[in-house]
Amino acid sequence: MNNTALSNEDESFWDDDARILCDVERVASVRLSAVANSIDQDGYYPADIMGELGQAGAFLPHLKAYGERFDAAINNMSAISRNCGSTGFITWCQDVCGLYMELSGNPALVNRLVDHATGTTFGGTALSNPMKAFTNIEAMALKANKVEGGYVVSGTLPWVSHIADGQCCGAIAAIDNSDGSRSHEVMFMLDINEEVNLTKCPEFSGMEGTSTWALNLNKYFVSDAQIIADPARPFIKKIRGAFILLQTGWAMGVTQASIDACREVEVSLGHVNQFLHNRPDELEAELKDLHARIMQLAKDPYDTSKEHMLDVLDTRAQCSELALKASQSALLHQGARGYLMKSKPQRLIREAHFVGIVTPAIKHLRWEMAKLMSEG
């Protein structure tokens, strides 16, 4: 890491995990919970609140420059997600985009890190397609050609979140040889400007405020200043575990919110809710186990061993399963009031579904674990 990027900061300011988490929780509970439904259903993109969360230190603990504390980053994300799953998700986008900048080692990108880490600027990640392509689930969507001073890239990605004009996202494009065979892939920071066509996505069932767009590139020029990794594969191999592990913070927040929703009605409905299965105490015990497992894995986020990857993939899969189970239970606990369109359990169920289907989806995780296991 280029430490000059931090020269304007009092570095010790960001050392206190507990204080950061406390500030993040405050912003999330005061500002986010009030607008969570509007974010989920009406498409309100909470850039203002993201800025405040950034100022509180939500998006930086996992970065090497700030001590590489993945546990703290995951706990921040979880606290945000507990109040709004959509914002939890774009927190993950912001966090991994920060990783790309920092680990690129490209001075032009590293110099952008402080603004990004403190929520002055925003950026996401367009790696769903290449992550699936690298494990043979689907084909690469973006193609690049080498030109003087960089690459030109064309292609379409259907759903990229946390992007807007003036923001950026990490992306990967394939470079083919003249005979059509694959040469390699290049990873770059895609700066969203007038050269990028963003098209409104069809209406989703929830998570509308994540600023998710279809992104089309037609001979978009990528300069050397934007290169994250060339070739991309070694870089992806290095960050893959960390990339997936960070998502667990978001998933655990949705689960915790679901447990909260079960408990909210305990006073009035506890006498009948006692007959339900997946009661909050039971869900919480599983969440506690899972959290402990995740905190352990967070100690060594860049371990690329097969054992570690299996653990990360399995933990992430369990996060999805638990979020789905917990949100379903939240609705059953709240009964009729949970069936109201604007109720919290309705939103939690939509959020949990997204936890289960976004890359890496439960099925992708299992596909990949099976692949890893069968490699001997």
């Binding site: 259907p158 054992e307 299996l310 399963e321 069968s374």
Partner: protein, 449 residues
């Protein structure tokens, strides 16, 4: 690709962006593409009906293969006994349970297809000219129907929570009342050998790959490791017409089991058959020369050229599940010698994956007994029914069959009882007590037919 009649093949194209499939047979009537519209006839301004990208983002689509097992029993939500591993141990325990209880739900989780075969045959089957398919005695599907077992095949156990009785697999999470670990062991490879550089015969799939590779005609085969499998395989492949080099890091084959006199007879027998035995040969690495010829490079600089390389360097038990569930692991999943229970009450283990008092026991003979004991413990609460007896070891080297009763010890003293044209009989004593008897039949050159 689908064929609708004999001459027209309708093609499928997939949207790279969202996965929608355009089927030429069906067209896209909602946007004015009649059924039968060829992909190349679609106008450039047509948009994917799901995500809105244009036809340049579509590519030809072939239906991917699905590897899930066929359904053999009615779906049941009742958690029952879950068995991990469809080798001899796994199927034996299922047979034993079904003998006593026709109804208890059983689920079998297997990393492979789960077909039943007799594993000891793998080291002697090549010279019989059979294929992997012919070694299958009963398919998993047939056995699953007959024994009413739910099959989850081509699937792996990745997580185990003993407190919640929950097994996490690559095909979903399953609950169990009792779990039986029969996961076997996997080849142990020295660090000079990459898994994809050599064959092994630890399961039918890998054996089948080797068999196919050897079908092309007589080849040079290098076998690394001169334990039981290495020795049996060397003879088998030699008999099948291949030129075999046996690379042995020790001075003699089967160093831990055979006294020097017996080992020398075995080497003489192998050499007489045409097998090259490289003693005290330590591998430095593998290399390929400019003309593409592969060789094992030994530490003394000599090379053994090969067309096929086989590792017979021993086995080890994977400890992932044991670690996750906090099961005691000591050179294998540690089990109680009388009950075959692991350190968790409702989890049992048998076969190659277990260790008793820190010793792994990778022989076929005890498995049936272990299976019956586990069934009896699970179904009748009879927890003390197993008694471990050292198995009789039989080396299936046909030119010189070896039978060993009792497990010899390094401190033991060997005495020759009989040595003549027909047989060699030796006994091992520790502190005056006979602990092992070795019988070797038919000395070199005297093999009938």
């Amino acid at each position: 690709m689908r064929v609708t009649h004999s001459t027209i093949t309708w093609r499928l194209f997939i949207c790279r962006a969202c996965g929608l499939i355009y089927d030429e047979a069906e067209g896209d009537p909602d946007s004015g593409l009649a059924p039968g519209t060829r992909f190349e006839d679609i106008p450039d301004d047509w948009e994917c009906p799901l995500c809105g990208v244009t036809k340049t983002d579509f590519e030809p689509f072939e239906r991917p293969q699905i590897t899930a097992a066929p359904q053999t029993v009615a779906f049941s939500k009742q958690p029952g006994i879950v068995v991990i591993g469809a080798g001899l141990a796994g199927w034996s325990v299922i047979e034993a349970i079904r003998k006593d209880d026709a109804d208890v739900p059983i689920t079998l989780l297997s990393a492979c297809k789960g077909d039943r075969y007799h594993k000891p045959e793998l080291s002697v089957a090549m010279s019989r000219g059979v294929s992997a398919e012919q070694l299958v005695r009963e398919t998993a599907e047939d056995a699953g129907r007959r024994l009413r077992v739910k099959l989850i095949t081509s699937a792996f156990a990745v997580g185990l929570n003993a407190a919640r009785h929950e097994l996490r697999t690559t095909r979903g999470t399953i609950e169990y009342t009792h779990l039986v670990l029969a996961q076997g062991s996997k080849p142990y490879l020295p660090m000079q050998l990459e898994a994809d550089a050599c064959w092994h015969v630890n399961h039918l799939k890998s054996w089948g790959g080797l068999e196919k590779a050897l079908r092309a005609g007589p080849q040079r085969v290098a076998i690394i490791g001169a334990g039981m499998i290495g020795c049996e395989l060397a003879e088998d492949l030699n008999k099948a017409g291949h030129r075999v080099s046996l690379i042995n890091r020790d001075a003699h084959p089967l160093l831990a089991l055979l006294p020097q006199l017996a080992a020398s007879c075995l080497v003489d027998s192998m050499v007489q058959q045409g097998i090259e035995h490289h003693a005290n040969a330590h591998i430095a690495g593998l290399e390929q020369n400019a003309s593409g010829e592969s060789s094992v490079v030994l530490e003394d600089g000599s090379k053994v050229a090969y067309d096929q390389l086989i590792a017979a360097t021993g086995l080890q038990t994977d400890n992932r599940l044991a670690k996750q569930a906090g099961l005691t692991f000591n050179n294998g999943i540690a089990v109680n010698a009388r009950s075959l229970q692991t350190s968790e009450k409702n989890i049992y283990a048998l076969g190659d994956c277990i260790s008793i008092d820190g010793v792994a026991c990778r022989f076929i003979e005890p498995i049936a007994h272990q299976a019956r004991s586990i069934a009896s413990s699970i179904l009748r609460g009879n927890e003390q029914s197993y008694k471990h007896i050292d198995p009789v070891i039989r080396l299936k080297t046909r030119a010189m069959p070896i039978v060993l009763r009792g497990i010899p010890k390094p401190v033991g003293v060997w005495k020759t009882v009989t040595q003549n044209e027909q047989e060699l009989v030796m006994e091992q004593y520790v502190e005056g007590e006979k602990i092992a008897v070795l019988t070797m039949g038919l000395l070199p050159g005297s093999e009938a037919a």
